[in-house]
Symmetry: C2
Subunit: 331 residues, 2 copies
DNA sequence: CTGAAAGCGCTAACAT
DNA sequence: ATGTTAGCGCTTTCAG
């Protein structure tokens, strides 16, 4: 009882492979296959539980109905949620997902990218640090269907699904200044990513707009290879410097800092306010209070899928840049 | 500058496809290809950036180096973390992951399973509700390489990577009883999953061991299709019934309940203790206090990959049942 | 209305 | 030491 192929079916039924293939692909009527033959084939298919070999199909068609999803870390809730939503949306269009986590490492990213390409994925959805890397650049030049989200390189023309960074960050911080904050620190992971730079710009702008001095020492960078230890050190610096507000450039670092505050400075959690780019459910009740900038996860996923599908379908060059508005959540 | 195939390479270089194929597969020496030819081919390969077409390879070899990862929801941190770890471990062995989220829906699960099979995955790593479903059963009978984790059906022989359920749950609850708790409620999602049943058994056992009455009304079931609303209703019931402790059977429901407590009953968060199967970082500082049972994520991932690789390699029937010990975290 | 046959890119047994 | 060729399972043109 090994797996039947089209050939087996045809033989068993005494018809040709062609006929079976046509019926399977619902081209029976179009190709004038008699109702009787069609029914016979369909019944037999069902009976033996025939499943077409997609690999063979792919080889023939040159299309795999597979999309690569390349992100820094699929276990980061932001990427996991978006991945999940994309999975569902793509499923409706007949695609499914291969995933890859890069850990923000250039060589891992290139290796995964090559793996995806060897696997003949039909398209890519990417949140990458290295948009300028060789592989991506060459893909871009060859007009391979891709959409980037979360991060951009303004030097590269491509399809981007982004959210506004600078202004929302500025406005979120403004809320704390309105309440009297004067000493505001910032914690970010290594900002070799343009979006993070913009978020930091928003921070600087907020200070500037309010005539507050920008103190470079209050802008602390956390090593993303050892987040916990590094964040602990940098947070300590800020606390001891007496900041009233700490600003974070993404959810991962905020979550870590909340944990650290509660573990190490429980007596201070009521005095300090956090501002976080990215939102998490726990911010609704965790201490310190968090003013957060919630990215529109569903829209990001939806737009990414939409644009990608469009590009794949049209085979045309397209450089869309969509900038979505995040939502400010004041707590 | 379209993509080169082996054929193109062979033509360009004036050798045969075979020679190129052998060199590519590092069989050059074994097959007595002259060093000179080998070098020539390798140099050319590098120059034109040749990438083998894995689809063609797969069709030929009947193996795709792809593993399907089937879970209820890839955006659940538990499955996301395990997925991430599995991704890394499999990568080392030359495999990569296709993902599918079932939403605990039987038909979605079967559709995804069929998709995986059409795609000729070499194996499956599954956390499923429907181990007894048609497709899985037939796969099992045909000895398809699979390993199940997180959930089991004791009626089905298969490879299982599990954690102890009953005893740890009992012991966790015992801690609260030791501190004087008398009225203990439980909140669970629909427990059509055997592991959840065992966790509930642990709850009952804890009561029994301590001569506490088992009140069926304090065992509340949450509809997993609308967790938030349903949990709110059931939690309210327990609170109003005056429980001192609430037990949860998985992280998702605990996280929701913590959120609800903080939103709706902030004045009560200090009086109540939670017991949670599954751990989350936030439990370290969130209120109510949570005594949690932490599943050994890394071991689960590692064992799953190990067993799967073994089964794929050996082509032998194997029914391993590994039961890992979770870690009790008292807070 | 149905069938034969070519070919997608790759591997490997079998020539030479 | 290297080339010829069949074939993996499928689609699709062209011929009956």
């Amino acid at each position: 009882m090994k797996k039947k192929s089209i050939k087996d079916i045809a033989q068993d039924l005494g018809v040709s492979k062609t006929t079976v293939s046509f019926v399977l692909n619902k081209k029976g009527d179009e190709k004038n296959i008699s109702k009787k033959t069609q029914k016979m084939i369909l019944d037999y298919i069902k009976k033996v539980g025939y499943q077409p070999n997609q690999i063979a199909k792919s080889l023939k068609n040159g299309t795999t109905n597979t999309i690569g999803y390349l992100v820094p870390d699929i276990s980061n809730p932001f990427y996991a949620k978006i991945g999940r939503t994309i999975e569902d949306l793509l499923w409706e269009k007949g695609y499914h997902l291969i995933i890859g986590s890069t850990d923000e490492k250039k060589e891992k990213e290139e290796r995964l990218l090559n793996m995806f390409l060897n696997r003949q994925v039909d398209g890519l959805i990417i949140a990458s640090c290295f948009i300028k890397g060789e592989v991506l650049k060459s893909l871009s030049e060859h007009n391979f269907p891709m959409v980037f989200f979360d991060r951009e390189d303004p030097g590269c023309l491509a399809n981007y699904i982004l959210v506004e960074n600078k202004t929302p960050m500025k406005e979120a911080i403004q809320k704390t200044i309105d309440k009297g904050a004067k000493k505001i620190g910032l914690l970010s992971i290594t900002p070799d990513v343009y979006s993070l730079k913009l978020r930091i710009d928003g921070y600087k702008q907020a200070l500037l707009d309010n005539g507050l001095e920008y103190d470079q020492n209050l802008l602390r960078i956390v090593d993303h290879n050892r987040i916990k230890e590094s964040a602990q050190k940098e947070l300590k610096y800020l606390i001891e410097a007496g900041v009233e507000v700490v600003v974070f450039t993404n959810n991962q670092i905020t979550a870590t800092a909340i944990w650290l505050m509660n573990m190490l400075y429980p007596e201070k959690v009521k005095e300090i306010t956090f501002v976080s780019f990215d939102n998490l459910d726990i911010f609704d009740y965790s201490m310190p209070k968090v003013i957060s900038i919630a990215q529109p996860i569903d829209s990001i996923a939806k737009q990414s899928v939409e644009i990608l599908a469009e590009v794949i379908k049209s085979k045309k060059i397209k450089n869309t840049r969509i900038e979505l508005k995040p939502k400010l959540i004041v707590r």
